[in-house]
Amino acid sequence: MFQLLNTILIGITSGAIYSLMAIALVLVWRSTRVVNFAQAGQALLSTYIGFEVIQRFDSYWIALIVAIVAGAAVGALIDVLFMRFLFSRNTQGPIAGVAPIIATLGLLGLIRGGIGIFLGNTEASIRPPVSNVGFTISGHTLAFSPLKFLIVGAVIFLMLALSLIFQRTNIGLALRASAYAPEIARLAGVRVDGIRTLGWALAGAAGAAAGMLQTPNGDGGLSPDSLDFSLLLVFGFIAAVIGGLESLIGAVVGGLLLGLVLAFVLTYVSGSLVFIIAFMVLILVLLLRPSGLIGAKRGRRA
């Protein structure tokens, strides 16, 4: 009974982090029609910036905020420096369709290699800002600690902030408009390019938050070729696909679902099968519900 409860709690915590990454991928996909594989690199870079801040100021909270801001800046920069250039040049030819994908992969390698050269492959580490010892109830230890509480809280806060931006502000309206119908939005006076960059910035911020939360939630280790960030990317992608790749709510639901499934596999089956199960979930969703479990209706797809 307690094991079941703990499994669910672990699933929710890791699922919340996958959701953040999925949101980052969805934001970029909606604004640019690119699945941004560099997102893992951006998250890694932002987390390293956060790590440096912790070294200087010894505060996780300042570091979290700085990392999120830096993540937004990096995202915006990538759009302005690379993506605009890429789209302005690359409109025809046999690989025009896949060129953006390849470019973001190249960026991922570039960021990883760059961090490796300047900061080294030796593991940096981020200690949890609050205790990661589980709460105890009547002698049983719950798999839910102040840290996990913080993670879930931070994810909920960021999601509320994002959905407020999207639903209640003019900028959010412009973001939605340019995603659904860029041409019409442009005619209506929306500066689509700028809005697109904003989408990349928001995605960068979400990715940075995912990185800063995932690192202390795992073993705290941080290295340029850490598997954690590759997995974050892959699980984020799977979560986004479960949610239909278009919708923010879908990304959250997808992340939580995937987190729960993987937590159950981890507890009741085997740790080294986690990955394969995730892959099978992806294939199943793609074969059975290619537009996602709660995918938007076809008519609304931009």
Partner: protein, 333 residues
Amino acid sequence: MHRFQHSNFSRLLFFVLLGGLLFLAGNRVDELRVYQGATLAMYVVAISSLILLTGYSGQVSLGHGALMAIGGYSAALTRNYLSLPIWLCFVIAILTAAIAGAVLGTAAARLSGPYLAGTTLALAVGLPSIANQFGFLGGEQGLLFDVGMPPASFGSDFSPYKWYFWIAASSALIAIWWLQNILRSRFGRIWRAVRDNEVAAQLAGIHVGKAKTLAFTVSSGLAGLAGALLAMTIATVSPSAFPLTLSFALLTGAVLSGVTTLPGVMIGAVTLVATPEIADSISRRFASSENVTMNLPGLLVSTLLVLVVLLVPNGPVEQWRSVRARKSAHAAH
């Protein structure tokens, strides 16, 4: 029809001659170069499998490293547990990878660009973890893969590296020759039609899904061969032999080669073989730290990838060709 057969035959002759030349060249250079020659041949096979997929059927795979791992592991398993002759191990490597590719391709045929890219990426990240799940796969250490000594009739000064080179180069030649033939056949035309315009191809009576699945299967088989060749040159198979960076490197090679030009495959393969050496000489010249030595090759490959996609998306060869065509058209006016 007659001309077609003739050109077919002359191409075969060309490849046989090329093989003879390579064999002679293998006797002239030192061991390191021979070893690099074997690696080069491995990359030629791997990159051409990706070129077939991306350039000729318009799909993208970020997970060919995983398919190479499937090929490498099946070759090593059949060699170690069944002690089959080496050529049979290679055939089994090709078949196993092709079967895996067919399964993946059936799903892939229904996926468009970003979905397929993500799925194959997921495979490349996750497949190595299987090695830890099943004991007979050898865990992190992996398995030994020994292709055996060269036949005694080749003489006593015929080194193992030369034997590797010999196997790899002949496999590469056969693979490329076969691939060229298939690209000139009905299937090649079907794949190009699908790549250029799916709807039009469908209207012309082509079963798009089947065509894509077939392309993925053939490409995977070639990747399996490349995986077995890689396993041969490093004499082991282990999860760390097929990292994510391998898949990225192959993609870089394919893009550099100009994804639509099979003969360009040499450019990509040479670049991939030369990169570690260039990186090494750079970091030695500047007497730099271990960080630089470790990360420079990957950084160079990624930089090349980004630069090529941004500046000459269709590959340097194609770019040069189209510039020249434009110039000569200009001159004609």
